[in-house]
């Protein structure tokens, strides 16, 4: 008997509920226990692990969990070498560059030569600006990067935006889109080899559940 298959699910934030629902539609119910990081599911072969969406790619990369639900943007940011078996069709967002509405920065070309960028995505930001041949100083922050321009600590931010509402509320304007992202079912490459049949069966159920 092979060991259980572990699937990591975002423990909070906008991806959590849709993740639980997509699993539910695929017939996998999480038997939630309060404050438990690891939960049993309705399928004895699957075990659910709650983790920060940001950390899911890393856990999958190392094989600490076999499967994981997380954003494509986060997989790229953490440079995890994993399979992205399925686009789960929710969590649509864009990784954007934004500047205060009242600033003179209306496009990437307006970004000053010594700009500081506040972001939760230092890796993708660095690559993006390097790719454009622009030098910026990356300021890695956790959570609300929208605050940084207000405090004057950064001129622009790189953050995800799904509806644009948070940016508007904070009087920020999108000046460029770095990438489009959705939520993915990721899989450790070796776990896929080990559990291919079971994982493919699970994928079929996810695809069928998703189309209902």
């Amino acid at each position: 008997m092979k060991r259980e298959i572990r699937i990591a699910i975002p423990s909070k934030g906008r991806l959590k509920q849709p993740s639980i629902q997509v699993l539910h539609r695929a017939g996998l119910n999480i038997l939630v226990e309060k404050r438990a990081y690891i939960s049993k599911t309705s399928n004895p072969r699957f075990e659910a692990v709650f983790a920060r969406a940001f950390d899911v790619p890393v856990y999958v990369h190392y094989g600490a969990v076999d499967l994981g639900i997380t954003g494509h943007d986060l997989i790229l940011e953490r440079e995890a070498d994993v399979y992205e078996l399925l686009d789960l069709g929710f969590g649509n967002c864009q990784l954007v560059v934004a500047a205060p509405e009242n600033s003179k920065i209306c496009s990437i070309n307006d970004v000053p030569a010594v700009a500081r960028v506040a972001t939760e995505y230092p890796n993708l930001s660095r690559k993006y600006f390097e790719g454009l041949g622009r030098q910026v100083e990356i300021l890695e922050i956790r959570g609300t990067s929208e605050l940084a321009p207000k405090l004057g600590v950064a001129q622009i931010i790189v953050d995800i935006s799904s509806t644009g509402e948070t940016l508007r509320k904070n009087k920020l304007r999108v000046i460029a889109c770095i990438l489009e992202s959705t939520c993915r079912l990721t899989c450790n490459k070796i776990a896929y080899r080990t559990f291919e049949n079971e994982i493919n069966g699970f994928l079929d159920r996810l695809r069928r559940g998703g189309s209902q």
């Binding site: 092979k2 890393v58 990369h61 190392y62 094989g63 600490a64 940011e77 953490r78 440079e79 995890a80 399979y83 992205e84 078996l85 399925l86 686009d87 890796n123 993915r184 899989c187 450790n188 490459k189 070796i190 776990a191 896929y192 080899r193 080990t194 291919e196 695809r207």
Partner: protein
Amino acid sequence: MFTRLRTPKGTRDHSPEELEHYRYIENKLREIFELWGYQEVRSPTIEFVEALSTGVGPELVDSTFKFQDFDGKILALRAEMTAPVARIVTTRMVTVPEPIRLFYVSNVFRYSQFYVERGREFWQAGVELIGCNTSDADGEILSLLISSLGKLGLKEVRVDVGHASLLRDLLKATGLDEKKKGILQSLLAYRDETRLEKFMDQNIFASKLKEVFLQFSCCRKLDEVSSISIGSPKYGKAGDHLRNLLEVQDVLADCGVEDSVFFDFSLTRRIEYYTGMVFEASVPNLGLPLGGGGRYNDFIERFGKLRLPATGFALEVERCIQALKAQGFQIPEKRKTKVLVSSKFRNMAIEAANVLRDAGVVVLIDVTKDDEKKIRDYAKLAGIGYVVFVDSSLKKPAMVYDVRSDTSENVTIGAFLQQIGGQL
């Protein structure tokens, strides 16, 4: 602060216990590689950056440690061993008949490029089979890999094989621009079949080519590849590459290891020089591959002299240890009984030590000149089996203290040797 107490990021010390695990893997692999006729080579830890960066691709070059020599030339720490071996073959082994079989056990160094932090110094054990372009050579490398991992004690080893040129030629046959080829390759690498199909539909693939891509990405065994017909000359040398894979499968069947080998169309390695089959070895209990390799036919000629096809693999020693531990394998420890010899007469202690050492016993001579009690206490704490207190002559019985049973008895050295003979 405190830099004198730390080692730099990504490096670490190895305790005697850890090192014993390393030695187990290294020595076992050496033994197997030698049995297969491979000879060990060693290259300098530092080399000129040109020698190490030729043909390995930008990703590896970026992660190579570089620094300046006194005369201004740029030096680098080796980031992998295939380039040094290629240089050695080109410069030192011109008259050696081919095929040449070489192996190495070396530490390599890489800047961590990944968000996911890795060690910056790690040990690799690998082989290169140089000067032969047959499927038999490919098959030998794969079966040596499987055999090596099995001999280490690993179970359920599997090797996934892809083909660098097969993938390259088929991507080229799509006629897509570089950007779209990149997307197609990443969809294959993601194993996202839904989006793969959608992408191919949107980019108007010839239905035949579309079918070929889908069939390949579903193939899991090397022999299943034979059912895919790609007769079209438009697909570069795809037909030849397929034949190569099928021949490799035949070799593996003759070696009796075909059940451990799988096909993975999307498999690519992060190093650029591969031209033929590429592969990765893994076990189910560890989420990262143990190592891998492939065929590199155009690499050695970049060093300017010899045009030699070659194939090889490298294993990461640390990952092999992790995999063994994950499988609950007890790495055999060289638990030899240790004997501490003490005497008021130094020459007698030395003589007794010599007799015991000649018989293969591990002997420590007491150098502390402490009293008997302290010496016994030390022996208890230091994992020593027996303390032998030698008198003024070896002919006289020595007092032997058995640490485990905490008892002493008077016996001659000869009798003691016989007594512990079974524990050697």
